[in-house]
């Protein structure tokens, strides 16, 4: 998953308004230039590595390139085909299923850890915080390889343990369980990351609220439920949105596990894997671009729906 967006977006501060007449125009131009100079490195990279490739992919998606016959303008044909493509649809639905189960479990665990750390009742809080966060620092490729070993039906420690106590060999990599096994890896990787977002938000809640609650006779659980959780609502929403995006873009983990369990994870298992296969196996760059754009659209729609639902709920309460 690629949940690497920095958690806190800096709030934009409007520049002080200075009446033009009181300053020579040169000075304000110079200031503006300086400002542009500061943002230029970002803008250049942003344009070169995101905007231009995105436009190029969009352009490509409007063509059809065949092994025989070359390139022809296809308009929206690729998009029409993708909407009708059972492999793409299956991948998206599979990720939707993943989302509905994995994201709540992961975020609930993150929230629990964050609240526990914030309560100040744990010993060695720094050590625990670090311990929970460390999996996020491990590259997902290595995490997937490691879990692939742990899941192994022959050498895997879980399988050996299960056999020793007479439970038979668990099929972590079987077609039936593979989605759950993937969910477990992703949860392990990102629980700490989300915990840090929530923990940071909890730290900025004003202590006066807790004092007031204590005066009113609220216990720790009541404070958590009625004050802390509502107070970090924006942080929770951020975690949900990142998780939605990351889930639909799932690639590394299933791609690596497919080497261990090709019968359980096919080449179109997730939408991103499908896009990859389309380019490198099927040589359909144009169609792959269209699939990627549609995937982007799915993510935008779902993220927006989540945000909308959350706002509506906030308004009601």
């Amino acid at each position: 998953m690629s949940q690497t967006v920095p958690p806190a977006a800096a709030r934009r501060v409007p520049p002080p308004v200075v009446p033009k007449s009181r300053r020579p125009w040169r000075s304000s131009t110079r200031e503006a230039l300086t400002a542009y100079g500061f943002v230029a490195p970002f803008m250049v990279l942003f344009a070169a590595l995101l905007v231009v490739p995105l436009c190029y992919a969009g352009y490509l998606s409007l063509f059809r390139s065949q092994l025989v016959g070359g390139d022809v303008f296809a308009g929206l044909d690729n998009y029409r085909r993708a909407l009708d493509d059972p492999l793409f649809r299956e991948g998206v639905l599979r990720m939707a299923r993943f989302l509905v189960v994995q994201v709540p479990v992961m975020l609930a665990a993150s929230l629990l850890f964050a609240l526990a750390l914030d309560s100040g009742r744990l010993r060695f809080p720094r050590l625990i915080r670090l311990g929970i966060f460390v999996p996020y620092a491990i590259p997902s490729v290595i995490a997937a390889l490691m879990w692939g070993y742990l899941y192994g039906p022959d050498f895997g420690p879980f399988a050996q343990l299960a056999r020793d106590v007479g439970l038979g060999t668990p099929g972590f990599l079987s077609p039936h369980w593979i989605l759950a096994s993937l969910a477990n890896i992703v949860t392990w990787e990102f629980v700490g990351y989300n915990m840090i977002i929530m923990f940071a938000a909890l730290q900025s809640v004003s202590p006066t609220l807790y004092e007031a609650a204590a005066v009113d006779g609220a216990g720790a659980f009541r404070v958590a439920w009625h004050i802390k959780i509502p107070a970090i609502r924006p942080a929770l929403l951020l975690s949900v949105i990142f998780s939605v995006i990351g889930t639909f873009q799932l690639f590394n983990e299933p791609k690596l596990l497919s080497a261990l369990a090709p019968q359980a994870i096919n080449t179109s298992y997730t939408p991103n894997m499908y896009a990859y296969t389309l380019v490198f196996t099927n040589q359909e760059v144009n169609y792959s671009s269209a699939v990627s754009f549609l995937l982007g659209a799915v993510i935008v729609v779902v993220s927006y729906a989540v945000q909308l639902a959350s706002q509506r709920k906030a308004r009601r309460s």
């Binding site: 039906p153 090709p262 359980a264 096919n266 099927n282």
Partner: protein, 453 residues
């Protein structure tokens, strides 16, 4: 994924052949027109090869530098830079990306035989005919040559081959009184018998992720899934009668659970080979040495036999795996690159070294009849002369098998159709029809004219 399988094909045995190739082709090239590529004009190779050149060669064969040194010694003005761009599954995407980008492609590249037409259709490979390739034709097995040539055009030089045989565990066969099956009917009976006697053992494993190996079995049965009509038109007959016969047969064994369906080249599969879970491995001539490296603990317990036959008394086999060296069209030094591909795979010293040091199974008739090659006995196989067995099998591989120009897709889709049916213990013949359908659809989308059932 078939990716892990492919590299292993390269760990093979031996090649030798007509090494005067270059001298011959140099002598033959009187008319000196620079290669315009129409296959009729030839290039003055002798003159071309004196010019300084530097070429890049992609190969996943470990230690191929030794053979490259032989070439550089013979042509001191030509430098060859060897790059290991990874196993096939890694190399092809890199090659395709470089070709698409128009820069970064090598001059000479290792391709599996079944990939050659996929790169020919994108017009990425140089026709080697004007560079004397046809003069080495007679050195090679006819069926290996037919896979790299189209009419008089030659798009790659065969490097090694993978005729299929059966590696079996003699100790397990002896223990359960199983005769070495010579027909598929006997094989099925033996499979049921073994699995009944030991529910943890299987006579063989049918991999749901190895379309190339399954295709080898189809090849043996006489299935001809593809027939080329022209550069842009081919017939797809994946579900032809022999293929249905093979799939019906394996459906029965898979459904009854008498054979296992583990994905091959995975940890579990390696373990199965080593532990005696699989009593046979139906594989290519590159299999024996691969096995020797993988299941060291079972040394001395294995033997080699030809594949079981569809009718008693027949001797037929298929091929799976095997590589070639192709020249990329964008090369700046076509003559040097072509000469290198030809030398590497047909020079007697080079081919012999490929066989003895790199363990590639030969594609040249000279080496396949070479006594020192044939008489090598392997202790891992109880001292059996394994090369002799596979050399004999090699002669029974029918020559008229051809690949599709969309082979990447064909193998990838195998996993989603026939492979999926294997895993789910469903009817393989129905899946075969699905495979046929999706390959046809894909080929049509790619602009081919597709015929066939």
């Amino acid at each position: 994924m078939r990716s892990p399988t492919r590299g292993r094909r390269s760990r093979l045995l031996a090649t030798a052949a007509g090494g005067l190739a270059l001298l011959v082709l140099a002598a033959c090239s009187g008319g000196s027109t620079a290669g315009s590529g129409n296959g009729t004009k030839s290039v003055d190779m002798a003159a071309e090869l004196k010019k300084p050149a530097t070429i890049e060669f992609w190969s996943w064969v470990d230690g191929i530098q030794s053979e490259v040194n032989l070439f550089e010694k013979k042509y001191p003005n030509i430098k060859v830079k060897v790059v290991n761009a990874g196993q096939p599954a890694a190399e092809y995407p890199k090659l395709r990306t470089a070709l698409k980008a128009g820069s970064g492609a090598p001059d000479v590249v290792q391709l599996e035989a079944h990939e050659v037409s996929s790169f020919t259709i994108t017009k990425s490979l140089l026709d080697l005919a004007p560079y004397g390739a046809n003069s080495v034709k007679s050195k090679f097995l006819p069926w290996a040559w037919s896979q790299v040539s189209q009419g008089s055009s030659v798009y790659a030089i065969p490097q090694d081959t993978g005729p299929m045989g059966m590696l079996y565990r003699k100790d397990i066969f002896d223990k359960y009184h199983i005769q070495v099956p010579t027909t598929w009917a006997e094989f099925a009976t033996a499979a049921e018998k073994l699995h009944k006697a030991d529910p943890k053992a299987y006579l063989t494993n049918m991999s749901p992720s190895n379309g190339a190996s399954y295709t080898g079995l189809l090849w043996q049965a006489g299935s001809r899934p593809f027939k080329s009509n022209s550069a842009t038109s081919f017939d797809v007959n994946i579900a032809d009668a022999p293929a249905k016969k093979v799939s019906d047969y394996w459906s029965g064994l898979v459904k009854s659970g008498a054979v296992s369906t583990d994905a091959d080249f995975t940890d579990q599969w390696y373990r199965g080979l080593a532990s005696g879970k699989y009593a046979t491995w139906l594989t290519a001539a590159w299999g024996p040495l691969f096995l020797q490296g993988t299941a060291k603990g079972t040394s001395g317990k294995w033997r080699v036999a030809p594949l079981p036959q569809w009718s008693a008394g027949e001797s037929a086999s298929g091929n799976t795996g095997g590589s070639t060296s192709a020249v990329v069209k964008s090369t700046k030094y076509p003559a040097a690159a072509a000469a290198f591909a030809e030398f590497l795979n047909s020079d007697p010293a080079s081919t012999k070294m490929l066989a003895s040091k790199q363990s590639l199974f030969p594609a040249t008739t000279a080496l396949l009849n070479d006594q020192s090659f044939l008489s090598t006995s392997l202790p891992f196989f109880g001292g059996q002369k394994v090369n002799q067995v596979f050399s004999d099998i090699s002669k029974t591989v029918s020559t008229d098998f051809t690949w599709s120009p969309v082979q990447d897709y064909v193998f990838s889709d195998f996993n989603d159709t026939v492979g999926k049916a294997m895993t789910n213990k469903q009817d393989l013949t129905a899946a075969l029809t699905q495979w046929q359908k999706s390959v046809t659809t894909y080929a049509k989308q790619q602009g081919f004219t597709v015929g066939g059932s």
